[in-house]
Symmetry: C2
Subunit: 260 residues, 2 copies
């Protein structure tokens, strides 16, 4: 397919690369900052543009990969072209762009992307939704050219997925950052925790997290928990967090036992 990418951030970058590698033609890359458009366009052999008025109508599909609050404005401007248009956001409804164009869909890759780190796109769950069955089928075919894990996901399901992804990715990373800070304050290297972090993520690749919970809270080891809270005396912001997460482990552990 002939594809135009609207955006030049992490999602736009990885998506454009995966689509080009699958043999699709990236026609244009748009960014309001020409330099950014040019950088990504260079890598995928496309034309960089910094004004939507320069859009080439030869494209078969427009893919909007911009900040959530910019999606609607762009969809409005693209509506005149009457082309299949998708956004790539977990937190935005299909309706947001469907209001401007009946040929709308969603193409949401459920992964965290950094510009400097390659991702095996074949493993990335690609959540698609179309305004009608034809669009859904067309997006599914396109998605299957770059991912082995294509899922039809409605807007309401995608909203939950996105919330769950915050719990499974953004929040754990913050906890890693807290651990990093605790170690730095005591001249200890973050590298000491890296194998532990990998193993914790690896465990839930084959198990469910509720079945592999470890640590003082799930053992209800009140002595260790009290000692930890004492250690956080100088870090008052972390004490309520330690307590809330320990309580969450205890509560979910009890409910899980009751379910068995």
């Amino acid at each position: 397919m002939r594809i135009t990418i609207i955006g030049s951030g992490n999602v736009a970058t990885h998506l454009a690369a995966a689509l080009k590698n699958a043999g699709h033609k990236i026609i244009q890359v748009f960014s309001p900052t020409y330099q950014n458009a040019a950088m990504l366009a260079y890598h995928v052999g496309a034309q960089p543009i910094d004004a939507l008025s320069e859009i080439d109508p030869v494209a078969d599909i427009f893919m909007i990969a911009v900040k959530d609050d910019a999606i609607e404005g762009i969809a409005k401007q693209l509506a005149a072209y009457n082309k299949l248009t998708v956004h790539t956001s977990g937190a935005t409804s299909l309706q947001t762009i469907l209001n401007y164009n009946p040929l709308s869909g969603v193409f949401y890759p459920l992964q965290t992307f950094s510009k400097t780190k390659e991702v095996d796109f074949w493993q990335v769950p690609l959540c698609i939704e179309g305004a009608d069955n034809d669009i859904t089928a067309q997006l599914e075919l396109l998605a299957q050219t770059i991912s082995n894990n294509v899922q039809r996901v409605s807007t309401s399901q995608r909203t939950i997925l996105h919330l769950a992804a915050v719990f499974a990715c953004n929040f754990p990373n913050n906890l890693y950052a807290i651990a990093q800070m605790l170690l730095a304050q005591h001249q200890l290297d973050f590298g000491l925790l890296r194998p532990l972090i990998m193993e914790t993520a690896q465990k839930v690749q084959t198990s469910l997290p509720i079945d592999v919970q470890t640590g003082p809270a799930v053992r209800n080891d009140t002595k260790t928990m009290a000692a930890h809270i004492d250690l956080l005396l100088d870090l008052p912001a972390l004490r309520p967090l330690y307590e809330a997460l320990s309580q969450s482990i205890i509560k979910m552990g009890i409910e899980h036992k009751a379910d068995k």
Copy 2:
């Protein structure tokens, strides 16, 4: 070395296996439950015992790998043998066993172990501490036969490491479990999040977590955060957790920018 393992849980199991594979002789495995001692002893070619009175004094070292609150009692009973004795706990001081025996040390593997999942022990940071320089040197040599990542770590540093490990392992796993629960409530499969969880852990293998934070909080995307909090209306226990972790991301992001 001739080693006696006191305990038959996750740490005892993985430690005994690694030591045996490195060519050491596991003399005995003790557990108050004979069946448990027998199971591990069978795998490492040792004699199972369920009473400390049956300890064979031929051992060069006793390794205590039991629940934290049982360590002191066991150290007390083992003192009569006058043998090098180490515990393997992150949360227990060296002093706890040193009170009973001058030949004391700590041999703490900083990893999360499950009995059913193999761990590459060469990658596990092994934190050692000895009551004197001779003991420290001896433990270091022993540790280097099973791990490429041996560190001398004092009791006070180990206490911080253990607290940081709770933030980097036990708490993230609870957040995975929350994500699992959210998906299950909407008939979505936890497998959708597995690549995201792996990638989040993989990112911090080469970066520092504070540098790779993503998600609505670090972008200060108040609209998405408000939408997420609305979604948690029926799950009142999760709302304060969502808010506290988002605030933590925002606060650390601001401090990190100021540091730059």
